[in-house]
């Protein structure tokens, strides 16, 4: 009798648990995009190559002109999963640091929501002139009447100071590009003449933030109070920072755009759990939720009735499979021809891999049709180079494998050749749900072609560890890796470090470079070397485009889908944009206003 009672109670408790979930439960449909966004066809892609703002039509009446102009005042609360470590751009180490420093600092040239370079504190994009001795001179005209938040005028001297700070001993900023600058002159307060030792093609990416002269003594950079209480020429300044909890930004009364920022303050609240962040934005407790992924589309769509929309930007990065050309058993070989991978060195196998993967199915299901399949290393921006998408052809893949001698002689479902089983490991950063789903789908797809993939995931620190730390990627100890990478607005450094033969990490170069496939192609090397010495954008684009096409022939990597920078926001927040540059969601924050 007692037993029965207990069983009944057990069931009651479970029923209560179930019931508690029911009201909010809503089974996700497999094609939610078609349900809520009929205007967005999946092919051609829903996201324009260089454009942003994927907005659910039920929300955000962006076309409606504001009758009375923007409302002023109010506070916007932004949720982020991570706390920034600093608000000094010289010390910034992570993407949240970069994004939040952009609330306080503006640069000479920045990247807008379309991925283009635009002048911000410069009056116009600077002009570069090559000099006779092979150097380069870049001249900026500065915007007049710009003041820092402390009231000091912004002049050429601040550009010099910023340069000194970047090059100083305690700086944690990348010096690439800056290290080629031999001098900065100030003919007058509003003219900056930067002299480079040699031609540096991606010069526009430099000076994306300007520190005010007098921020502090560069010898004690690490311990400045300024690092947590900074002021700059941007729309906001820091009022308070409660460690681990929130940072309050208040408007910079001296901001150079008249009447802006419209809001009184922006509060950044640290919310470590993304699920809780989603609940809070649906509940109206926060206005912006930073750093969502493509896997969140369905939850975001489900919240459109609660007034949640989202904005995204194509970053030019791809989620990709990185194929190892060299034998994983050999430690960091410089040339894979000397130690070829027993399976992947064969081009036919790589082609068969790509053909056996139904990228569109992954995009349509796991990603809810909201991104484009991966086709090229240069999908977006000024240097975009569109390529034909690969075709999914299982029969073709099988034919290729058979032709190359891979047959399933022992009928275990997996092919063999000369005693080698067509079985490889795939590794990615563990704990990433979307990547784990993608991997498992790939396992099934490749099994159809008689290829075995074994998942062996590791924490991101293990995967991305350096050469000295025995990083598996640096030393070539893998078959296939799954992760995201891609060029920034200027592809120069990415293409060189990922595809040039000089960038193969070996003991000799102390593991520098990111050519983890150990891909060697003399033409690619030559095109990249040539492009480095050019300032002409069209000529560079053509060379980079050759590289992109050649990569698709040789297949050191298989591009699965294009990544987005994605943030959710509440529809009462107007003018919310996402830039593919470092400023991310803070781009244009001076234009934010709250619809009453």
């Amino acid at each position: 009798m007692k037993t029965l009672k207990t069983i009944l109670f057990t069931m009651l408790i479970l029923a209560m648990l179930l019931a508690a979930c029911q009201p909010a439960a809503e089974a996700p449909t497999t094609e939610p995009i078609e349900a809520t966004e009929p205007a967005a066809p999946t092919n051609p892609p829903a996201v324009q190559p260089t454009n942003t703002a994927v907005v659910a039509p039920t929300a955000a009446p962006t076309t409606e002109p504001p009758q009375t102009g923007p409302a002023t005042g109010g506070t916007v609360i932004v949720g982020t999963p991570q706390e920034p470590t600093t608000l000094n751009p010289i010390l910034a180490a992570s993407s949240i640091d970069d994004a939040l420093t952009s609330l306080v600092f503006e640069g000479l040239v920045e990247i807008d929501e379309n991925g283009n370079f635009v002048p911000v504190l410069a009056a116009a994009l600077p002009i570069a002139e090559e000099t006779d001795d092979g150097g380069m001179i870049v001249t900026y005209q500065l915007l007049p009447d710009v003041k820092f938040a402390n009231g000091n005028a912004f002049t050429c001297a601040d550009v010099q100071y910023t340069f000194d700070a970047i090059m100083s001993e305690l700086s944690q900023a990348s010096t690439s590009g800056y290290s080629q600058i031999v001098g900065i002159e100030c003919p007058d307060a509003l003219t900056v003449v930067v002299t480079y030792e040699e031609v540096y093609a991606p010069y526009l990416r430099l000076f994306s933030y300007i520190l005010p002269t007098g921020a502090g003594d560069l010898a004690t950079l690490d311990t400045w109070a300024f690092n947590r209480q900074p002021y700059g020429a941007g729309p906001w300044m820091v009022e308070s920072w409660t460690a681990g909890d929130n940072i309050v930004f208040v408007k910079n009364a001296n901001y150079h755009e008249a009447g802006k920022p419209y809001l009184d303050s922006v509060i950044v609240k640290i919310i470590p759990s993304r699920e809780v962040g989603m609940t809070m934005i649906g509940n109206g407790e926060i206005h912006v939720l930073w750093d969502l992924t493509e896997a969140d589309f369905v939850a975001l769509d489900a919240m459109s009735a609660q007034g949640v929309a989202y904005a995204g930007a194509v970053t030019g990065e791809n989620e990709l499979l990185l194929l190892n050309f060299a034998d994983p058993a050999v430690d960091g070989p410089a040339d894979p021809a000397a130690a070829p991978h027993p399976i992947l060195y064969d081009l036919a196998v790589r082609q068969a891999l790509q053909m056996a993967i139904d990228k569109q199915l992954i995009v349509d299901t796991l990603l809810y049709g909201n991104v484009r399949v991966g086709t090229t290393v240069l999908p977006a921006g000024t240097f975009a180079c569109p390529q034909e998408p690969s075709t999914y052809d299982l029969a073709g893949a099988i034919a290729l494998l058979e032709g190359a001698g891979w047959v399933d002689a022992d009928n275990d479902g997996i092919r063999e050749k000369d005693g080698v089983r067509l079985s490889m490991t795939i590794a990615t950063t563990s704990g990433n749900l979307l990547r784990e789903q993608t991997e498992q789908v790939l396992v099934e797809m490749l099994r159809q072609a008689g290829i075995e993939l074994v998942i062996e995931n590791v924490p991101s620190d293990t995967l991305f560890a350096s050469w000295d730390e025995n990083g598996m990627r640096k030393h070539g100890d893998f078959d296939i890796l799954l992760y995201t990478t891609g060029p920034g607005p200027d592809p120069d450094s990415h293409l060189f470090s990922n595809y040039h033969s000089a960038s193969i990490p070996t003991a000799d170069n102390e593991g520098s470079g990111s050519n983890y496939s150990r891909y060697i192609n003399a033409d690619v090397d030559a095109w990249l070397d040539d492009a480095y010495g050019l300032t002409d954008v069209d000529a560079r684009r053509e060379l980079y485009c050759n590289v992109a096409a050649q990569i698709n022939q040789d297949l050191p990597r298989i591009y699965l889908y294009e990544r987005l920078l994605l943030s959710g926001y509440r529809v009462e927040l107007q003018n919310f944009l996402v830039s593919p540059g470092a400023m991310d969601f803070t781009w244009g924050s001076q234009n934010w206003w709250l619809k009453p």
Partner: protein, 323 residues
């Protein structure tokens, strides 16, 4: 007794030294680390990376780094965080009050629930009520923490609203942003995280209390007391409870360091800026000055609370001798 405590203190110093070597060695052997944030970025040149390695002192061999760290600590300098550049102790002290508030409330609520229910459950063994408590307690242990936490948020801040449409309880954080400190507001923010922690931890304290009580009430001296005709309440509180508390005291001793260490999952779900998350964030970035400081304080508390527990044993049961 004093001699015993002195001897234990001496042992503690040795133990802590061993622990510091172990922890330092482990942290230094973990792959990745502070440099991986930079080495992935193609815009960082080899020179940049070399400069940063030097700046973080990563070029020294591990034993040298340990020796430097130990010397500094002995002089009271725990070093600056690699990431925020602030003193490691300041990072801790900024979060300590939040952690103490959360964990302290949790302990109080836990004990207030668990001890009476555990005793009651034992006295009414195999009644309907006992089975119910057992079921609920074990259900709480079988569900992952995050699941329970999210469920609380959905019920109390999404489904249930105040008459003016605001969430009944705030889903996360320590305070309503943009408002000055307010005790009532802080308490409202405490309710969900404390309930979650307390329910889970009370479940386990209750199980121990129940089983320990069951053991004791069958013991000879309790039966004797009962035989003497003492009222049942007196038998329980005078004779049984004292001895039944021994496992509870042991458990409290095991949990005491968490008063400082915080609760990672709860802090994560409810966005509570405590030490648990400071530790986790620092671990993700291998920020070893902060990590070492957190872990060493934690280890000290483990060692100290074990000593404390042993002393309490002798109070609870004078037959227990320490030698």
């Amino acid at each position: 007794m004093t001699q015993y405590i002195l001897r234990r203190a001496l042992q503690a110093i040795l133990t802590l030294l061993v622990i510091s070597v172990l922890i330092f060695g482990l942290i230094s052997s973990v792959p990745g680390g502070i440099m991986s944030a930079y080495s992935e970025n193609p815009d960082f040149t080899q020179e940049d990376l070399a400069r940063l390695r030097e700046k973080y002192g990563l070029n020294d061999p591990v034993p040298v780094r340990y020796a430097k760290w130990l010397l500094n600590v002995l002089q009271g300098d725990w070093g600056n965080s690699f990431t925020s550049k602030r003193p490691a102790l300041q990072e801790i002290s900024d979060r300590l009050p939040n952690t103490l508030l959360l964990m302290g409330s949790m302990f109080l609520v836990t004990l207030a629930i668990a001890i009476p229910l555990g005793i009651y459950s034992a006295l009414k063994q195999y009644t309907f009520f006992d089975h119910l408590l057992t079921t609920v307690a074990l259900a709480g242990q079988s569900l992952p923490t995050f699941w329970f936490g999210l469920l609380l948020i959905i019920i109390f801040s999404v489904l249930l609203k105040t008459p003016d449409g605001k969430p009944l309880l705030p889903s996360a954080g320590m305070m309503t942003l943009g408002q000055p400190f307010n005790l009532l507001d802080r308490l409202r923010h405490l309710i969900l995280p404390v309930s979650m922690l307390a329910v889970i931890s009370a479940a386990s304290y209750m199980r121990y209390m129940r089983s320990s009580m069951l053991d004791v009430i069958h013991k000879d001296y309790v039966r004797t007391a009962r035989g003497k005709g003492l009222p049942e309440k007196m038998v329980i509180s005078r004779h049984a409870l004292r001895n039944a508390l021994i496992p509870i005291v042991t458990l409290l001793g095991l949990d005491l360091p968490n008063l400082f260490g915080g609760a990672l999952f709860t802090e994560t779900i409810f966005a509570w800026p405590g030490i648990g998350r400071l530790f986790f964030d620092s671990a993700m970035k291998t920020d070893y000055p902060v990590l070492m400081a957190v872990l060493m304080v934690y280890s000290f508390l483990i060692v100290a609370s074990n000593l404390l527990v042993d002393l309490v044993y002798t109070v609870l049961d004078p037959r227990i001798t320490l030698d």
